[in-house]
Symmetry: C2
Subunit: 240 residues, 2 copies
DNA sequence: GGCACATGGTTAATAGTATTCACTCTTTTA
DNA sequence: TAAAAGAGTGAATACTATTAACCATGTGCC
């Protein structure tokens, strides 16, 4: 049973409302518009009251970050699991497209997760939960691992990789907790580099004067990336 | 002769000092730390005085943006012109490396030029000078044009490019004012996508837990990009 | 030279922000 | 039921931007 006292219930409600207000304000006004006073107004209390719930302004930003991270992960995971479990091409395509769509629909949040606001959060006292890199690496790492097991990837041999780079690739592999040659990790990074560049172009509006709609570039890139992995665009791709 | 009145001289000096202080403060404290009050303190006047020089806080940010843009352009141009004028590989390599080095040494400024702060500036009343896209496109566009003229590029034929994408590529080509097939533009964008992704990874510290030093990844990427262009790493590369 | 005007600074005032502290009212608990 | 704990408020401090009124001084003209 919900053996919640009246106080606990009210507290949970206000915390929920405040988080929701913070997310909405951040999305509408940008992170710099996310102020303690604005959230207090939105939930109908005075600013000092929120200090019983959050660690000041930084705590509000952090709360939004945690919310947004969960939403993002969920989004990508659902896009991936919407595909045929044996259709790796569709899985990678859909997951990547989900990243693009979410990022475009949530530019402020993208900035928090992967942009300029990220380093500040990472350097905060709480830091970034290790889970994230592992989980996100996992989304893409698992299909890559399968492609490798099935012998479909053409990868560089360990000894052909610059030792400095190889060390970094091993660190990354350890972090996401997967077990395949660092040549596979290198392939993942090569793909991510391009995806991330396209995301930043689209979200930050760089070159927007020409590439107003990022989808044509995205689809062209996906064809290229799937090609690198020995795959083709899947006819069974399921978009939401 | 410098027929400057005392007043004009003092004004020029204060403007110069204020701009320098603004740049320093932004670099040290981040753009959010760049306040009218802080600059006023640094140059020894009261905050309202700066309103005779800048359009408030937004004007200060804009002044820093303009300064930084000029510095960035100059940096890339000098790295490029330091190379043998016939060594396209060295030119592209050096210019790209200059972009990376400058971005890492000036993370806040990078954010202003190509990151989250960029859209706000682009949407301000003054907008972004058209010159920039043209100039930056030119740095890389000119070597690409030469490679194409020399018949060294393998590019997609116009009719093999998705019409939606082709239209965007034509817009881009018009904007930078160069004259080659859109397949060449596509190659440029493919390269930029990867460079930009690597820059954002390095500057924003994404995946920093593993890729603390971005240079190994950068050099690996350059080998790949030069390969796409039918080039090899130049032995004559001159680094500063 | 002296006078009028333009320039560029000041102070004061308004309004917004974060944050801490002391206090009070309410709820919980012993 | 009385003590303790919790959660809000109001006041105070210290920042921030920005505008307005004001004043001193430099500039240019007669």
């Amino acid at each position: 049973m919900t053996a919640l006292t009246r106080r606990e219930r009210l507290r949970a409600e206000l915390e929920r409302d405040a988080k929701a207000a913070a997310r909405r304000i951040a999305a509408e006004e940008g992170v710099e518009g996310l102020t303690v006073a604005a959230v207090a107004r939105a939930v109908g209390v005075t600013p000092p009251a929120l200090y019983r719930y959050f660690n000041g302004r930084a705590g509000l930003v952090r709360a939004v970050y945690d919310d947004v991270t969960a939403e993002f992960m969920d989004n990508v995971a659902r896009a991936l699991h919407r595909q045929d479990p044996d259709d790796i091409s569709a899985q990678l395509h859909a997951a990547t497209r989900a990243v693009l769509d979410w990022s475009l629909a949530n530019k402020v949040e993208f900035d928090l997760l992967m942009g300029a606001a990220y380093p500040k959060i990472a350097e905060s006292e709480e830091g970034i939960p290790k889970v994230i890199a592992r989980e996100l690496g996992g989304f893409f790492g698992v299909p890559f691992a399968r492609l490798w097991r099935e012998g479909r990837l053409t990868i560089d041999a360990d000894e052909d990789i610059d030792p400095a780079l190889a060390g970094q690739l091993r660190t990354y592999r350890t972090h996401v907790g997967l077990d395949f040659p660092i040549g596979v990790v290198l392939l993942m990074v090569i793909c991510w580099r391009q995806i991330y560049g396209l995301l930043c172009m689209a979200v930050y509006g760089h070159h927007q004067f020409a590439f107003d709609d990022p989808v044509p570039l995205f689809e062209h890139m996906m064809d290229h990336l799937l090609g690198i992995l020995g795959l083709e665009r899947s006819p069974g791709l399921r978009m939401p």
